[in-house]
């Protein structure tokens, strides 16, 4: 049987899978930084998507939801950074539709096969003349090596490009899944201020693709938090254009399990990159909750710890303040027995059952000093677990967010 071990990690992003082109340029929304991207599939691709659960939804999210009802395939996605086109009312909706129409026209596609995403400042209107001119300029430049430019163009306060890709074999066909994402503030579970676009050449129908996305999303983008603020624009889209020519498979098949594992691999990698690149962050924190009765319980505790400003500032200061972790476990809403809880930093035991404190301050500070810190919380009441990723909370976060718009 195929397993995740059959999945090979590769260099590349949204243009690694066959039949996809992309590009990214500067159109003038931001100051001297690429701000407009397009991803194109040669053939209409099966499409699946998940969106923010915020009641305040940005115009492009509202437009995409309509597009997904109008058409079961998608051939292009246009994305801008620098402006979220959120809280912009009727005018913002018209602007999002105009981006769709302009992209469809420039690519000679049916309008219902184009999706749109935006990220950046909330509550300001898009400079549409620049955007529409940019779309016309960008289309001729789309190429099979344009994934990197596209990944750069969707960045906002991100400090590095986020791409991830894998290959694996389905029957006799090599299948590729590649993606790109952007973070970096307003990141919270369900989901984050994040955009992710994933392309694959797998042959897979839309309903199965959506199931695979939902499953992978639960373990990746819904498991990261930077500041607990849920965005208005969060979007993750997967396009599957079938260019790999693998045989069809059903939900119970080994092939589907492998596809899901591969998609999850790509998405978790992107999710961790987003968490590590949280605004002002200097460390990636992985919170691993074990010994829970249910995965939902493990998730609740992990989320609570990962969202704690006090835990995140303590990790920033290499301070083994496990008491703050216990406090966050306690207010997670999970029905835990504090007396049974064990805590470890990486492999180092800090607290054993019955509040037996085994903290070696020096070793703990060393464990926390790394760029990747794992906080293990064992609830000792079951066999389920969940992982959550976040970053430390720093003065730089405050600096960035006290003056983001200026």
């Amino acid at each position: 049987m195929s397993t995740i071990d059959d999945v090979r990690e590769c260099q590349g992003g949204v243009t690694l899978a066959r039949g996809f082109t992309a590009g990214g340029i500067y159109c003038g929304i931001r100051k001297a930084k690429k701000d407009l991207a397009i991803i194109r599939s040669d053939k209409p691709a099966a499409v699946a998507a998940v969106f923010t659960q915020n009641r305040t939804q940005a115009a492009p999210v509202l437009v995409d939801k309509i597009q997904l009802q109008r058409s079961s395939v998608c051939s292009a996605i246009v994305v801008n950074s620098g402006n979220a086109n959120a809280c912009t009312g009727e005018r913002g909706l018209n602007d999002a539709w105009d981006m769709v129409k302009a992209t469809a026209r420039a690519l000679a596609l049916p309008e219902d096969q184009v999706m749109v995403s935006s990220t950046g400042v909330i509550g300001q209107y898009l400079p549409m003349e620049k955007v529409l001119t940019g779309i016309v300029e960008l289309v001729p430049r789309l190429s099979g090596s344009g994934g990197q430019d596209a990944a750069e163009a969707i960045m906002t306060t991100d400090t590095y490009r986020k791409e991830s890709a894998v290959q694996f074999t389905l029957g006799r066909s090599v299948v590729t899944i590649g993606g790109m994402a952007k973070g970096s503030g307003m990141i919270a579970p369900n989901m984050a201020t994040m955009l992710a676009f994933i392309t694959t050449d797998a042959v897979i129908g839309r309903p199965l693709l959506q199931k695979a996305l939902n499953r992978a999303n639960r373990h990746s983008f819904n498991r990261i938090t930077v500041d607990g603020d849920m965005s208005t624009n969060d979007t993750a889209v997967v396009l599957a254009n079938g260019a790999a020519g693998n045989g069809a498979f059903g939900e119970q098949s080994e092939e589907f399990q492998l596809f899901c594992a591969a998609l999850e691999y790509v998405m978790i990698k992107l999710a961790k990159m987003i968490a590590r690149d949280g605004e002002g962050a200097t460390k990636l924190i992985e919170v691993c909750v074990k010994g829970a009765k249910t995965e939902t319980e493990a998730e609740a505790v992990a989320r609570s710890v990962a969202n704690s400003n006090l835990v995140k500032t303590a990790v920033h200061g290499n301070d083994a303040n496990w008491g703050r972790i216990m406090a966050a476990v306690g207010y997670s809403g999970a029905d835990v027995d504090p007396d049974a809880v064990e805590i470890r930093f990486n492999e180092l035991p800090v607290l054993n059952r019955g509040y037996e404190i085994v903290l070696d301050e020096k070793k703990a500070a060393e464990a926390l000093a790394g760029e990747q810190v794992m906080i293990v919380v064992d609830l000792n009441r079951g066999k389920e677990e969940a992982r959550f990723w976040t970053c430390d909370l720093t003065k730089e976060y405050v600096h960035i967010n006290a003056s983001y718009r200026s």
Copy 2:
């Protein structure tokens, strides 16, 4: 009918009401700062209390809950700062009981009439020799003018003492309610890392006193947030010793309404002082949500906005980033219509219905530059409202919490 207008604000704290003494000294838990306080009632007082809802509860909280079952009256409360005696297991429980016993012995009180509170670092054992010596030293110094020393002794990272008091007339008796509190990090609704002790000379039975406390608590200590982290030690206690000699009153009486209003006044004042003095804070932010269908809905939206790191950093930077407020409204869980929402800073309209942006950046920056900022969110769907208090999020918060233990 008596109203809140009949309530006079006074200088003073826990020793303003008749029949209460208090004091605070340095016993050696902290570095060169008062760290031990006792409040004493001459006569056994009716007692009401509310505690943290964190599953991880500190030893003194567990002890107090037992004390409240053992006795319906309380004559003294002993409090230390510098060490929370939380996550300290069996040994911590014994230490809390030893504080109770030592205080009872020194004051010649039945053990079940003494309560105990602790605040400070989690997960470290109390230096009991110092604490017990301190109790014996402090008891002879308790006095009717010792409220201020007590208020200083319970401070942790608080930058100022928090006291509040009122007087009003019930029948022919002048009744006093006075209190003290400490904040300042790990402040979250339901409740905060906060301790509050309130004394009154009113004649009021324990069941009514508890009802009054619950009601006032909902509108005060449960409406403040600094960092969303709920503490293990939160405690608010009210003692009513009856020294004012007013006539008894029932739940439906005007007198009870007045007592509740007065208690709420004192507690809201303390709550706002805690929010304003949040770690690293430079401003008090009041979030006022209007036009909700229910108070619970208004509370949910106000909590969401007040807890948003992004809103709090924006206010810190005098940045009129109302989009972040809309995002927080959207993820509050309340069933709001974003299109109907209006936002004002103090009296200044920023957003009208239908996303009509009426923001004057210059005026808005001025409104945000004050030491007190009111964010008004009108949901335009009902008549209920709720207020929440918080502070701005600053680099100093990170600084304090990245090295709190050292």
